[in-house]
């Protein structure tokens, strides 16, 4: 019996030992996953669109960069806690609603301004639509065959999904999905650029590399993509092969850049759903009361987590007079600091803090 468990343990650890690092393991598994999906999707590699192989290589480089960045990020103590606890709380009742709010309709951005919300919807959903079309095509998870004259068969993961009329509405939408996405992204990027050029607040803070470069890259992709259509439809394919290379270049550069710049917020954003779940769940369980005024200001769990995270960084806030700052609510913490400066115990005076907003 004992020998049995020890052998299973051994085999378990040896699987992990096969990989040099977390990164190597994630990389290996995703590429094997991609290969398997492609194997199924292409009916055993019989329908590979080699015209798109550049995107394939680009995607694999992107996955490498993504794991490098994401694993480094996930190893930070606070991030690790949120990811671990967020995964545990993933199946809360409110998760679908929060996820739709945070990841699909961006309610919080609407509260930052309708203009910014519209531009974000256009860019965000334009990019999602484009990715949903591009990647299945690149890995040949989706392709079209024509068995009957005038009818296309849409093949998804090797299964014939439907027959559509070659000049029908669904076919039209399929041919033009990338054009529609490009128009959405172009409109959104133009709105964003206009805001960045005109809005004084944006102008005060923005940097070329961080704020403009991603916009220009998206614009570069959209314009070259649209030009491909223009060349096909109006110019009889003049310079089309060259333009398709330029377009491919623009996409690959953006993919490689994505995990490292402003666009990195796309793969990181789901953690905001984790954070909301975490606050809601532990907030319902047990709230921490301020040691001075008794107000409930944060969940005990979060307070302990923050104390632990700060401990990792060798920061702790034990005061000489027996307080720990983590035990005070925020207004009391500020008053306590005033007390430290003045020598008079402001936080012990039972008066609500004066209005701290300059709007009167």
């Amino acid at each position: 019996m004992q020998a049995n468990t020890s052998t299973t343990k051994k085999t378990e650890s040896s699987v992990n030992d096969a990989f040099a690092s977390h990164f190597a393991k994630s990389m290996f598994l995703s590429i094997v996953g991609l290969l398997i999906l492609t194997f199924i999707g292409t009916r055993m590699f019989t329908h590979v669109d080699l015209n798109l192989y550049g995107y394939m290589v680009g995607t694999i480089v992107f996955i490498g960069g993504f794991f490098y960045r994401f694993i480094a990020w996930g190893e930070r103590p606070p991030t690790k806690l949120f990811i671990k606890k967020g995964l545990k709380l993933l199946f809360r009742k409110s998760t679908p609603k929060t996820a739709v709010n945070h990841l699909a309709i961006f309610d919080f951005i609407r509260n930052r301004g309708v203009y910014r919300w519209v531009q974000h919807i256009l860019i965000g959903w334009g990019c999602v639509l484009a990715c949903l079309v591009t990647f299945p095509l690149v890995f040949s998870w989706m392709y079209f065959t024509m068995e009957d004259n005038g009818y296309y068969t849409i093949v998804l993961f090797g299964m014939n999904i439907m027959n559509v009329k070659a000049d029908g509405i669904i076919a039209w939408l399929s041919y033009n999905a990338l054009n529609i996405a490009a128009i959405m992204v172009t409109a959104g990027v133009c709105m964003a650029l206009y805001r960045r050029l005109k809005n004084m607040q944006a102008r005060a803070e923005q940097k070329f590399i961080y704020d403009f470069l991603p916009l220009y890259l998206l614009l570069f992709i959209s314009i070259t993509g649209l030009l491909l259509t223009v060349q096909n439809v109006f110019l009889h394919g003049w310079m089309q092969p060259q333009m398709s290379l330029i377009h491919q270049f623009s996409v690959i550069v953006t993919l490689i850049y994505l995990p490292f710049g402003k666009l990195a917020h796309i793969p990181f954003r789901p953690v905001s759903v984790f954070a909301r779940n975490y606050r809601e769940h532990y907030g319902e369980q047990h709230m921490k009361e301020c040691k001075v005024c008794g107000d409930q200001f944060v969940s005990v769990e979060q307070s302990n987590d923050v104390i632990q995270v700060l401990g990792v960084n060798e920061i702790d806030f034990n005061m000489n007079d027996g307080f720990n700052l983590a035990e005070l609510c925020l207004p009391c913490r500020r008053k306590y600091r005033i007390a430290k400066f003045s020598g008079f115990a402001t936080h012990q005076v039972k008066v609500k803090e004066a209005n701290q907003n300059a709007n009167g």
Binding site: V271, R276, L330, C332
Partner: protein
């Protein structure tokens, strides 16, 4: 020439110009990020401002799971990057001074960034540029040292940042009068 925000707390007359000025800084979206407190509200009118002190080892940034709080090369601890902040409020819980504010509607933390668009070019932050009583000043390290000499009481009681704060900060705080029971001479 690198300048720092320097606070002489006892000069404060509670006019709250710093709060009003803060709202007007580019990027602050007309909301102030600093505080003014009554020291002993039921007894006298002494007030003191409370700003982000821009810790050298900031607890808010250390506790941020999203790396949304960045530290500028000038030492300023910046407000949360709007696209990265995930709204967990760890920073508000971590800050020993209770400085970061949180907007639940926008799911976004905001805090003093020393008006980085100004201070990165050596222009004083809004609060320091409007303070009528020199409570908030924008000084070089030499000038701060001169202040220290000016208030040196030969009793080791130069009261500034360290023993009264939780760690080294980029903003220097000084209150020579109140703690030492002496009246300050201008």
């Amino acid at each position: 020439m690198k300048k720092r925000l320097y606070l002489e707390l006892e000069n404060c007359i509670g006019c709250r110009s710093c709060l009003a000025a803060c709202t007007q800084c580019g990027g602050h979206e007309e909301r102030n990020r600093n505080y003014v407190y009554d020291v002993n509200p039921l007894v006298n009118r002494q007030t003191m401002p409370l700003m982000c002190l821009h810790c050298v080892n900031p607890a808010c940034a250390r506790s941020c799971p999203a790396q949304a709080i960045q530290i500028h090369e000038t030492g300023a601890v910046l407000s949360a990057l709007v696209e990265k902040c995930i709204g967990c409020q760890n920073c508000t819980i971590a800050c020993p001074y209770g400085i970061p504010k949180f907007d639940t509607e926008q799911n976004l933390m905001y805090k003093c960034d020393l008006c980085i668009d100004r201070s990165k070019d050596g222009i004083p932050p809004m609060c320091a540029s409007v303070c009528p009583t020199n409570t908030l000043q924008w000084l070089t390290d030499e000038e701060i040292e001169a202040k220290q000499k000016q208030f040196n009481l030969d009793n080791g009681k130069w009261v500034t940042s360290m023993p009264y704060l939780e760690g080294e900060t980029n903003v220097k705080v000084n209150l020579p009068g109140i703690l030492q029971g002496v009246t300050k001479l201008f």
